[in-house]
Amino acid sequence: MIAVALALVLASADPCGLPEAALPDAGAAAAYVEVAEAEEAAGARETAALAYREALRRDPTNPAALRGLAETCGPRVARRDAPSALLEAAQLVRGGEDRRAAPLLAEALLEPETADAARLLLSVIARRAGEDRRARELLERAAAGPDRRVGATAANMLRSTRRAGRVALAAYAGTSWDSNAMRAPEPNELDTGDAAATSAAGVVVRPLGDSGPFASGGAEYRRQRRLSALDLAGWWGGGGLRVAGARGAAVAEYRYSALHMGGTPHLAAHAGRVESRVVVRRRFALELSSGLEHTRYFQEYARSFSGATFGGEARVAWSGPAAWAALGYRGARFRADDEVPLSWIEHGPAIEAGLAPARALRVWVEASLLDRVNDEVDPLVAVRREETALEASLVADLAIAAGVSARAEVGGRMNDANVAGLTTRKLLASLGLVWEASWP
């Protein structure tokens, strides 16, 4: 008991030991760094380490404090086990104890074999603290480092930080081919395939950063090579609230969207959704989402499909250093505004799996299998419609410059129905460029 008490006293007196968390205060942290540097210059290394530590309590990724603590505590740390420090820091970061992890990561920065992984974790801390620019700098260094696995993870995270600023922009331009653009039923002996050129852009504004209210909007234009009646022009806009913490995030959003097809108004939709993601154990997260959308079709042939869809999905997601996977189950209920027989319910599993085989390359597959059953017999076909839809796609994303990647996708959709005219097949392929940037 006495030994434990003594150990605690000694630990608390250790200027290179773990600090307790303090409220974030970048201004005070800068003052501590100034004091630390003066103490270091005066030869008072222990006092300097103590001041650097205090700076890190208030600003866990302060570069000067990290460097200073690493240098002042360096010789002692070098005799310790840097991988152990990294491991302990990783546990603390996972548990949201960022300020306690920072000094350990400063230690891990000293050793070349752990430095890049330490930068990776420090970037997580920086991002949580709203220091997106700092997070990006750390990730850029980690991505360029010698550790291939860490580099691939850092490159992935770098992509996500490019969307994480207070103002984030994304744009896409590409071409696609659809083997059955008109959704002609099987057996399809018509020439219903067509190519198209697509461009899209979106913006998200988060005045308070990662957590807080946001507004978003975007537009898309698709021009068919032959079937101009299928040309699409659409826009959307909305806003919501996102709350993010160390162990997860939750989003509530409203969005209005409108679409023109073939140059005439096609649909308008009001949609609301809520989503949450909670890290339940190490690399595993539980994701729940739910949404309600009302769609109104303007063209006569589609007007009876106007109605409200309520849906949701539960997913278990796993993410590793250079791979990720998710398994979910989704369901939806559509209630037509006018034609009760067209109301339906559908449900089924969905999967996603991906890996980053190289620093600049990510490849993933997405697939879902949904069974849909209508509420009542459809008088037009004299049966209660039942359909099974299998959708799958394979996507490859290759980063070719900062914020720019080339994206290729191949996929298909099989829709089997108990009504011959509703059984369809199609193959899809696309190739395009994605640009993403965010400020600050």
Binding site: A31, A44, L50
Partner: protein, 210 residues
């Protein structure tokens, strides 16, 4: 004594809070707590941060006390001199005691004794006892008539401190040399010390001797 100092510091931190920012108060109080608990390096850091974020006057006095406890007496002299110049109103008997300890540890006996003259009555009984003990030690250390080599030692220290940019410390050594020179019956010397002294800061003993 440490407890009394901490109490005094906390009281001062609170009483001086009005014009300062909340951040300043936080650092002063944190420094006082560390000082009370004997963590003088942590106290020093907090006082220095407090000085940077707004409480330069009072914080520098406490900085000096923390430096004394850390045995960094030369830096303490600099801090106390800066505090006395910038924030004379924050001076009190207890802080003078710490300043005197720094002077004593640097063998600036006459300066320490001059500082402590009259302080005893303005402090509590425990600190007064400490002051008495210190003055007794000063009395034993300060010989009646210093040797010429002793003067030369102080003059050399003053020169070195001046060269290092520590003007307050240089002044302290030069003042001590001049005060010692005033005690000599033989040719007094002290000219080198006078040259090292910042104009207008001649010590009382040297003034009397003139």
């Amino acid at each position: 004594v440490i407890g009394l100092v901490a109490k005094s510091l906390v009281w001062f931190a609170i009483s001086a809070a009005a014009p300062g920012s909340a951040g300043t108060d936080t650092h002063l109080l944190a420094g006082a707590r560390h000082f009370r608990d004997g963590r003088f390096d942590a106290a020093l850091v907090e006082f220095r941060v407090a000085a940077k974020v707004g409480a330069s006057g009072p914080a520098r006095w406490y900085e000096g006390a923390a430096l004394v406890k850390l045995g960094r007496h030369e830096e303490a002299i600099e801090s106390f001199a800066g505090a006395a110049a910038d924030h004379p109103a924050s001076r009190d008997g207890l802080l003078d005691y710490y300043r005197a300890v720094a002077l004593y540890e640097l063998r600036l006996y006459l300066s320490a004794d001059e500082l402590l003259t009259g302080v005893e009555g303005g402090v509590g009984p425990r600190v007064a006892a400490q002051i008495r003990e210190l003055r007794e030690r000063i009395g034993r250390a300060a010989t009646d008539e210093p040797e010429r080599t002793t003067l030369a030692w102080y003059e050399e220290r003053a020169r070195v401190a001046r060269a290092a940019g520590r003007s307050a410390l240089a002044d302290a050594y030069a003042r001590e040399a001049l005060a010692l020179a005033a005690r000599r019956r033989a040719p007094q010397g002290g000219a080198p010390a006078r040259a090292e002294l910042t104009p207008g800061t001649l010590p009382a003993e040297a003034r009397r001797a003139r």
